[in-house]
């Protein structure tokens, strides 16, 4: 997935510069929505011209100039239209019409990308809108590429992005850093959007949806950028580590036909050692600094799995302890469910099954396929195959994931559930 098609020289550079150019243009003209369109046009122009004429000496300046010209054209047309309609409105307050210093330096550029992320992941936007806008405005992807990744028509994605921009305009968000009060909440919204992008890509990185795997790469690239900007933030490091440690298993996670292979049965030689080493280093460094958050804990759990050379080498007591910490931090029944699995691995399947009983009373999970699947798995471990078959089938009926359904049906079948 690229901003300008495959193998365009400077394409990587374009994607790097996209948010900086957008930020500079928004600073100068104030109108985020129009600036975003202008920057897309500038990126397209670069994608056409640079391969033929070579990358300019100052690519960032080139893009800002071209985007600025597009903005001027847009503003002129807009002014003419308003004059025709007898409307005179000053779009941006004066303090936003101030041009930036000729060379804002690294500091401004660094903050700009963050400000853009905070804008694109603003709580006023729906999640799908925030995801789409982040990929375009910060990731530098085209609407067509984003539409392709989410398997919706380009017109639909175009509308989603333009509505997201309208929401930003209506909410009156200014191009500035969130205040100290807002900051934690806003950063957590940013991280959540990046996490959703990652999952969208990771979950679909098989078979016909191969191109969607790039969403996982894109999420990692963006998380890396945020980590570079906020190296001291533990949760940012935790999220990046979690992505790396999860993505490291991607090749082992599905078979040749796209069938799911659970963690315990994966060929661990297929795991990406380099990504694991990087993820482990990140999470180790951040955990030693204190102020532990949910992403760091999830990353730590992923790291324990990734460090086991064989399934049976997994340090389950440590995973159990980490889930205990995670459970105290969040009111997420999925965490309790995962903790029950770890409990079973440490204390035996019967003890794990006992823990699941609490979750039957939780309306959020009682009918969830994951609860039935975990129960089936623990019943299988306990040797109660008939009950396991029944619960694998129950889970299969409830999941909305096709590969997962196939996996669950096969599990039931292997236990003798397929016999007539």
């Amino acid at each position: 997935m690229t901003a300008a098609g495959v193998d365009v020289p400077g394409e990587h550079l374009l994607r790097e510069l996209a948010p900086q150019v957008l930020a500079a243009t928004v600073r100068r003209f104030g109108d985020f929505a129009a600036a975003e369109d202008a920057v897309q046009e500038a990126l397209l122009a670069a994608a056409v011209q640079w391969p033929e004429e070579g990358v300019p000496d100052n690519p960032r300046g080139w893009l800002i100039r071209v985007a600025g010209r597009r903005m001027t054209d847009h503003l002129r047309a807009e002014l003419a239209r308003r004059r025709r309609q007898g409307v005179v409105v000053l779009e941006a307050p004066p303090d936003e019409q101030v041009a930036p210093a000729p060379d804002g330096g690294d500091h401004v550029e660094r903050d700009d990308t963050l400000i853009l992320l905070f804008m694109c992941c603003h709580p006023a936007l729906t999640r799908p809108s925030a995801i789409a806008l982040t990929l375009r405005a910060v990731g530098g992807l085209t609407t067509a590429e984003i539409a392709n990744a989410f398997l919706v028509p380009e017109a639909t994605m175009g509308q989603r992005i333009s509505r997201a921009k309208q929401s930003i305009r209506k909410s009156g968000v200014r191009f500035r850093m969130p205040t100290a009060d807002e900051r934690a909440e806003r950063l957590s919204a940013v991280l959540h959007v990046l996490y959703l992008i990652f999952n969208e890509g990771y979950a679909s990185s098989t078979g016909e949806s191969l191109q969607r795997a790039d969403l996982a790469n894109e999420a990692i690239r963006l998380a890396r950028a945020v980590h570079r900007l906020l190296p001291g933030d533990g949760e940012v490091a935790g999220l990046l580590a979690l992505m790396l440690l999860t993505d490291a298993r991607r090749r082992a996670r599905t078979g040749p036909g796209g069938e799911l292979i659970p963690l315990a049965e994966q060929d661990r030689t297929l795991w990406d050692r380099e990504a694991i080493a990087e993820g482990v280093a990140l999470v180790t460094a951040t955990l030693s600094r204190g102020a532990i958050g949910a992403y760091q804990l999830q990353a730590a759990i992923a790291a324990v799995h990734d460090e086991a050379a064989r399934t049976e080498d997994t340090d389950w007591p440590q995973i159990l302890a980490l889930y205990g910490l995670l459970e105290r931090m969040s009111d997420n029944p999925m965490v309790t469910l995962n903790r029950a699995i770890a409990f079973a691995m440490v204390h035996g399947p019967e003890a794990g099954l006992e823990r699941l009983k609490v979750l039957d009373a939780d309306a959020r999970l009682a009918d969830h396929h994951r609860l039935a699947a975990v129960r089936a798995h623990l019943l299988e471990m306990a040797g109660d195959h008939q009950a396991a078959i029944a619960h694998y089938r129950k889970a299969a009926r409830r999941t909305s994931s096709l590969p997962e359904r196939n996996y669950l049906i096969m599990k039931a079948g292997r236990l003798g559930g397929g016999e007539r």
């Binding site: 789409a132 990771y202 992923a302 909305s400 994931s401």
Partner: protein, 144 residues
Amino acid sequence: MKFMLMMNAPYGTGDDIRTNTEAGLAWGVAEWPPDDVKAMIDFMIRFKQELSDAGELVGAEGLAPPGQARVVRAGKGGAPEVTDGPFPEAKEFLAGYWIVDVESPERAYALAARASASPGPGGAPLNMPIEVREVMSGPPPADE
């Protein structure tokens, strides 16, 4: 999350069903006053446009009347065996569908309710049953 909203229209009632379906007149639409038909068609066009404008439309189609439906089964050697559909005992038929990409099931239900309230004779809402089914996705997200 993607959902398919299926608009199930009831066949007409009484002895005229068969004639109506054969003539493509099931659901009695052809017997509505022209203005009411136009109001319904306008609604359908507008609804589709709204879905597209909201960035939620994946696809939508109306289907030809069930009088033209054929039921196909694989016969000898996999050759198609074609019979006239639909099944005589069916009380409803699929008139059309929308596939939407929305944030939550609740949003899909809200859209289904909008579709259900499409105007009928005299402009009164039809309140047709809309079956909402989630479209199966790829593998589940990462989870330990």
